[in-house]
């Protein structure tokens, strides 16, 4: 391992304003000419590690060597051999593509003949030649990342550090980015790709799997997934509620983890456990247990100690919603224009009571705009959005009393304590006195918030923030829950726990409308609408959409495959 490009030896990084180390005793190497994935949920320490390698931060203790150099001492020399693409778009939005390239070329001292040759090569490589005069801020998410990549490649680096390049990029552009990175690997460049998407881990040669500052796994991703080989199954042909089945199945000791995949339930068994008896768990007469390929995420769950179980303490306390007959949520020709740009373009859908309806699409596709119109936070340019038969924009607070809303990014009061937030939101929804106390205490118990009551939510771990946000959204027992990207960036255990609650409340008759850009998360929904460039390009149950994309060569496509196939079909149609 002596020829490693980067060596990391028991590196620890503690930021002065926090008690917990951001990185805690990380040791690993990054081998030349390969792509190494830095994988983990938000707050795992990925960005910190990348910034240490780039020489932008000094470790509290431990040693890092990049290309034989100390990233802090030999910073000037190191700059020549690394390219760094930060997570937040590191480009000037008010400069054009060409100007951004020129600026970075000036900074890297790429001049004369070499400059024009490099520009031509990079613009061809990124396919941005047509857009050189466009302002960087006006590019799509995918194109921005390609431009960022081009700028990072300007000095012909040996090591390329990419911090979450896949965020905000639609699946098609994401695949293109991966192809481009593969070409760079073939040219002998070493790439570090950080990501919160666990499915991307499987595309890397090596993986550093991190969680809360600790290294969970280091090695080939297949070594990780092989740990759970022959323990992954799908229960198919289920009769009855698959959500209730999942809850039952997770009760049995043999099952380590389970999720819903469309009409099926996916299980991972504990090591050495016997297959569950489908009859005992009441899966229906036709139900069958089919072995499926293990996933990196399942192995991660096991490394973290198994799934959270299938019981939702929240749902147990909820009163069932009854007597609803009409449509819960309805969008008719819903359109929102910002100038010439239609963020939402003649969107139609209906959501029935007691179902989970998902708006699925990449960032910037128009999900949030649509969503905000449904909640009455934005006025449509034309068309109507109705919730329980009422237009939320014109009507009033009684209708909103029946809604719960959880915003995209964590948005509770950071300067209030956890308890004050709970009190505030219950008060706003009209709970008071003994009843308020009772509900707040229930939430504290259900979401295990007792130790944090007097802390500010900003200092909580992401998982607890998420719990608190959900608690604040459901205290008043809403009939309809609006969840905007509820699980973005959280670790898979918290994600499972979150969906367990959602499944539980839906079983009680609550309607849930959710947006997500996690393709696999859409599998939890009863029905989904695929949103792309402001329009719904397909709608149906997850299985229906996957079937549409199924081909003889590729009989069992993932949600992401389905999405790409449907987008391509759409653009072919538009082209012909």
């Amino acid at each position: 391992m002596s020829d490693a490009l980067v060596t990391i030896e028991s590196v620890q990084k503690i930021f002065t304003d926090s008690k917990k180390p951001a990185l805690d005793g990380i040791s690993a190497t990054i081998q030349p000419g390969r792509i190494t994935g830095l994988v983990g949920p938000d707050g795992a320490g990925k960005t910190t590690l990348i910034r240490l390698m780039a020489g932008l931060l000094a470790p509290t203790s431990g040693k890092i060597r990049v290309d034989g150099l100390d990233p802090i001492h030999d910073a000037a020399k190191l700059r020549e051999s690394i390219g760094y693409m930060p997570q937040k778009f590191g480009l000037y939005e008010d400069l054009s593509v060409q100007e951004n390239l020129e600026l970075h070329a000036d900074l890297r001292n790429v001049v004369g003949e070499e400059r024009s040759a490099t520009f031509k090569r990079l613009l061809d490589f990124t396919d941005l030649a047509r857009f050189t005069s466009r302002l960087a801020g006006k590019l799509s998410g995918g194109m921005k990342q390609k431009l960022g990549l081009a700028c990072a490649l300007l000095g012909q680096p040996r090591l390329l550090l990419l911090d979450e390049p896949g965020v905000g990029v639609d699946p098609i552009s994401r695949r293109e980015l991966w192809k481009m990175v593969q070409e760079l690997i073939d040219q002998g460049i070493t790439v570090v790709w950080s990501t919160a998407y666990l499915d991307e881990a499987e595309l890397c040669r090596d993986v550093l799997l991190m969680n809360e500052g600790k290294l969970v796994f280091y090695g080939k991703p297949s070594d990780m997934t092989s740990r759970i080989r022959e323990r992954s199954f799908q229960i198919r042909q289920i009769s009855g509620s698959r959500r209730q089945l999942l809850a039952r199945v997770l009760r049995s000791h043999e099952v380590m983890d389970g999720v819903i995949q469309g009409h099926n339930v996916r299980l991972v068994l504990r090591a050495g456990a016997a297959h569950p008896n489908l009859h005992d768990i009441n899966a229906g007469n036709q139900a069958e247990l089919m072995p499926v390929a293990p996933r990196f995420e399942d192995a991660f769950i096991e490394a973290l100690g198994g799934g959270p179980g299938g019981e939702s303490a929240l749902a147990q306390r909820l009163r069932p919603v009854t007597g609803e007959t009409n449509t819960a949520v309805e969008a008719v020709d819903l359109t929102k224009k910002f100038g010439d740009f239609a963020a939402t373009d003649h969107v139609n859908f209906t959501v029935k009571h007691g179902e989970i309806f998902g708006l699925l699409g990449p960032n910037g596709a128009g999900k949030s705009t649509t969503f905000r119109m449904m909640c009455g936070l934005l006025t449509p340019t034309s068309g109507t959005a109705r919730v329980m038969g009422i237009d939320l924009k014109t009507s009033a607070s009684q209708a909103r009393q029946k809604l719960g809303y959880m915003a995209q990014k964590f948005s509770l009061y950071g300067s209030l304590t956890v308890k004050q937030n709970l009190k505030f939101f219950s008060g706003v929804y009209g709970l008071r006195g003994e009843q308020q106390k009772l509900v707040v205490n229930e939430m504290i118990e259900v979401f295990k918030l007792q130790p944090f009551l007097d802390t500010a939510p900003n200092t909580l771990a992401l998982g607890f923030k998420q719990r608190l946000a959900l608690a604040c959204a459901v205290m008043h027992e809403p009939r309809i829950l609006f969840l905007d990207e509820p699980t973005s960036g959280v670790d898979p255990i918290t994600r499972r726990e979150f969906w367990t609650h959602i499944n539980g409340v839906v079983e009680k008759g609550v309607t849930v409308m959710v947006t997500t850009h996690f393709m696999d998360e859409a599998e939890y929904c009863d029905r989904i609408a695929l949103v792309f460039r402001g329009r719904i390009i397909a709608a149906g149950t997850p299985d229906q959409l996957k079937d549409q994309a199924s081909t003889p060569q590729h009989p069992d496509p993932s949600m992401e495959d389905a999405f790409i196939a449907l987008v391509q079909a759409q653009s072919n149609e538009a082209g012909s």
Partner: protein, 368 residues
Amino acid sequence: MFLRLATLIIKELQTLLQDKQSRVILIMPVVLQLALFPFAATLEVTNNTLAVFNEDSGKEALELVQRFSQAQAFTELIPLYSEAEVRDVLDNQQALIVVRFPADFSRNVAAGRAARIQALLDGRRSNSGQIALGYVQQILQAYIGERLNDKQQVALSNLIIRNQFNPNLDYVRHIVPGLVAIITTISTLIVTALSVAREREQGTFDQLLASPLTPGMVMVGKAIPAMLVAMVQATIILLAGIFIYRIPFAGSFGLLYASMTFYILALAGFGLLISSVCATQQQAFLGVFSFVMPAILLSGFVAPVENMPTWLQYLDWLNPLRHFMIIVKGVFLKDMGLSAILQNLWPLLVIAAGTLGVANWMFRRRLE
């Protein structure tokens, strides 16, 4: 409805008071302005230097020089002995004003002829210079008056000025009531405009709008905490004015606080209006700043409103601080009566109704 509003108000006060930083932001300006303004922002000229070039050695000239040196306005007196020194002392800003007695001064005075005296001022400090010249003239007037008395002669007319409400022309009496108005202005605007912008930035505003609260309730929920905070601050300054600076409070507290309520409402309207067009705290801060600066400058606190061009006076009618400045000074120093207060109060009511109405409309419109 009422309890929900109470929840909002409690939340707002908690956010304002729990955070150390925002507590400092609320308290520091009060303390600083209270400690510094009454001393720094005085319009009196004191502690200045007078230079005297006395070419005369007579008794009369000496008498006047001694009177100058006793004056409070001049703590230092530099004797000069040559023309060149006169120039130097002014060029180097060693003296604000030079008084020069010609060689025949005392002789002329003694003989009852017109005697001349020259005053040279530092033109770079024209305002202070003018005021200092005023003091010099006062001393001269007094001297002339006494000489006439000595000769049993009476001056043809003698103007005696007494200043009502502030007999000693003590500038603290001008500053402190003004501070009451200025501090309430700043804190009301900051609490309303910045807190809405902060909620927008943090995404909690959406959370509020998705709840059963109406935009109107959210506005009231911002205006009332601002009112509470501003009134507490105003009270601190008021008490400090009365007990520390010993300014007699002439009027009625009830009337003052009642008018303050309407004033704060008018301001809250401006604050909410600013916040309704701002997406970030930074924008809101700039908005508050560009409102507060002209509002204070055109309030009559710095320069009389009557000295402004007519069109600006009309425009200034929209400035709530202008009206409240009259009320607060009037009530504090002059025991202004109800009818006089009402004359300045109704514009505040109109402004409050206008700004709050527009702000409410903007809040609904902003949703688009």
